[in-house]
Symmetry: C2
Subunit: 205 residues, 2 copies
């Protein structure tokens, strides 16, 4: 045989490709493209990229109140006296916090679960920050908990679990509105959302 046994011409190259390909949504072809892009960049930049990744898990901290990613012990939202700490919005992850912050419609605080209950993926209630939420409500000062999880089977299961865990506290529980999306033609709305939008109609005023 005159062809190479190995797919890659270099073990160092293959190692770097494998590292990139270990990321979600990045296949080996894309990974190779990324590595070759790296090789075309200045040494300093590539080393900096490596250093940031190496110390990533040491550099990132979580707010001890809401479990959002934070540079400080208590995150900027929880520490902000202008935020209404009596309203707690329960979300899945940091992206959801950022999405809700971007709406500029919410002035309460958050509680980041770190996921939703998903037996298929082996994620049970104990893998999430649910007991921390219960303790937070039990400690007093919280008047409303808003459930803002994804409107999926897993999200609904998690909502139900949390509602049972909080039932003894008597806290007001709400869930974000489900209905037709704004800006889309009604004929393209899915049946379930359209049905829900009729049942949950609000007063026009």
């Amino acid at each position: 045989m005159y062809v190479m046994n190995n797919e890659y011409p270099s073990a160092a190259l293959e190692r770097a490709v494998s590292e990139f390909a270990s990321l979600p949504g990045i296949g080996r072809k894309t990974a190779l493209r990324l590595v070759l892009h790296m090789l075309s960049r200045p040494d300093r930049e590539v080393e900096e990229f490596g250093r940031v990744m190496e110390s990533l898990k040491r550099d990132i901290h979580y707010c001890k109140v809401c479990h959002n990613i934070s540079d400080t012990d208590v995150c900027l939202i929880c520490a902000n006296p202008r935020r209404d700490s009596s309203t707690v919005c329960v979300v899945e992850n940091v992206q959801d916090v950022m999405a809700i912050e971007n709406t500029m419609q919410y002035k309460g605080v958050y509680h980041v679960l770190g996921g939703v209950i998903s037996p298929m993926n082996g994620i049970g209630p104990s893998d999430l920050q649910i007991s921390g939420l219960v303790e937070r409500v039990e400690a007093g000062g919280v008047t409303e908990v808003i459930l803002a999880l994804s409107p999926t089977m897993e999200g609904d299961t998690t909502n139900f679990f949390i509602s049972r865990k909080l039932s003894h506290t008597g806290v007001k529980l709400s869930v974000i509105a489900r209905g037709v999306t704004i800006g889309n033609n009604l004929e393209y709305a899915d049946e379930v959302s359209l049905g829900r939008s009729i049942v949950d109609r609000t007063l026009y005023n």
Copy 2:
């Protein structure tokens, strides 16, 4: 204002997102997803990822003969006595070497240019390994140079430039065949390739 001034809840998070977003084809949303994925992985794996990237440019070497990526001074293809070193296939980059190797149709050696002449992107002949190719042919022992660059304007320009630089050596110059792609219906072939396939028809035997 009760909303955050900063898009990201943490400077460490933002730094890591920026690093990923500096890669081609990765936007800030994907970058955030990649960072959060990293945070869900074991410390050891994330640190290893960082270390591999940090030392990437030190770990990767280039073959001093063909400029392909290699772990050794002379790459495995150039060092293989079963490869025909009198035939040199000129390619743009390491992906093209891998693609041609995968065909298992080539037993010669390579010369990796590191790109093609592209005035639009500020890449001139001196940015490519063209003088090295000329020296290689001038040194003797090479009987044929196969031009296997992309069939684009830039590739054709580079082919023309190389052919002029090599004209005094008298080496046999060939270019990979252009025509209709195999396995596709003829009605979907583009006019230029179809036209070329008629002009460059080969004997049916």
